[in-house]
Symmetry: D2
Subunit: 140 residues, 4 copies
């Protein structure tokens, strides 16, 4: 299935609709299969020892899957997360960005399901894996 | 099971160990069955329309369950969330604090499981429900 | 919110629509807040040591929440589980029935969310806790 | 990481330890990355319309991830599922086997995390996706 929003369009969407986290997040790569979102943590997102906090990884996962949906259906600002599951498997390295690679498992009329793998750049180790469901408003 | 940390001790723990979110969060009530944590959202935690974002509710749930564990076992700064599930059921009211009431479903030697109900004050409607598992380091 | 199906009506629904598991399951109690379903395990549902298997507890949770929805909206045979989370906390006693007490966290037009606590009779220890989301077909 | 149990060894393990479901399940393929388990549903696992029930897909997911762990660490009959999340995305075709392809996201000393994709043979559509955590007893 083709994308209807490319990397630049997704970047603009973050800048406009997620203003409060726009400085943290940038779109790293967009393909037909996935959207990879990058998070550059600042001090507010760290835990003792310099690792990134769980809620910050949740934020990365949530926005990454959201963008993977928008890439297919366009800028639907009102899609909402209905539930989320996240497994935290390894501590992120201190002072290193995170990459969240999101792909869709289902894109239905009213529900979409996506998953995301979170890694540090230049590492294969999966730090966290999340799956989330979004409700898509009927107006599209 | 009796508590080993009371409201004041949990407040101090947040101030010292969760410095980056300490201004957002305050301990509302501590009983033998539950710890209720309050989140006063600022502009950084809002979504268009004034509702609190999903990742902010995740943060409230994560810290509330963490404190419910610490109330029983004392200040173990290194307990980590191993996985989390959250259902988002209703949008929070705009400009209103959130209360997360956390209770433990299991407190084992190495794993603890807790759940949290998130509400607005003076409302019975459950906005979100989360269950999370924490790994407790062996040294305690 | 009042019930539109009582214990006898839910029992009949199981007998007709869940024929393949009807012998295992019986409705123990129905209140306005919850439906409690009982599972009497036979040898096919046991693991070594006589405890009930995880998938069997999942079955109990799934049907209990389903019935808690039907108690409110009537016999909608086509509601489907869209996702489920279950925490297994303690091993069930061998050779003892299980009770699953299900309550609804949300009953919307198209999505319902419920949770269930699984216990042995005459024990307070929670063996497993599940939360599940159901999609309700638009025709009701 | 190399396997310590191959397809034949995993088949024998099912026959001995999961006797009650052994007739339903067979090991379809074992690689270093994944274990694929096949479920041939009989009438007891169907819902009206001939689709396989949710609890039956949960059973397939649970055993598939369990075998993916055993393939790496050997026959540890006492590993237990501590929690599980499953998204049901599409209805299985009636009268058709299911394949569950399980891979590990983490294999730690005391916890292992795996995921599974459930499909019908000769189809790319993912019917369900699950992630599960297992506690591994310390004696190995």
């Amino acid at each position: 299935m083709q994308n209807v929003m490319d990397q630049a369009a997704l970047e603009r969407f973050i800048a406009e609709e997620f203003r409060e986290v726009a400085g943290l997040l940038s779109v790293d790569e967009v393909t037909e299969q996935s959207v990879t979102l990058r998070l550059d943590p600042d001090d507010a997102h760290l835990r003792p020892g310099g690792t990134v906090s769980g809620p910050t990884m949740f934020l990365l996962a949530d926005v990454a899957i959201y963008l993977a949906i928008l890439a297919k259906i366009g800028p639907v600002a009102l899609a909402v997360t209905t539930n989320a599951h996240i497994d935290f498997m390894r501590k992120p390295q201190a002072g290193v960005p995170l990459l969240g690679e999101a792909s869709l498992l289902k894109l239905g009329r009213s529900l979409a399901v996506g998953q995301v793998m979170i890694r540090n750049p230049e590492s294969d180790a999966i730090l966290a894996h999340a799956s989330m469901t979004y409700s898509i408003p009927p107006t599209r």
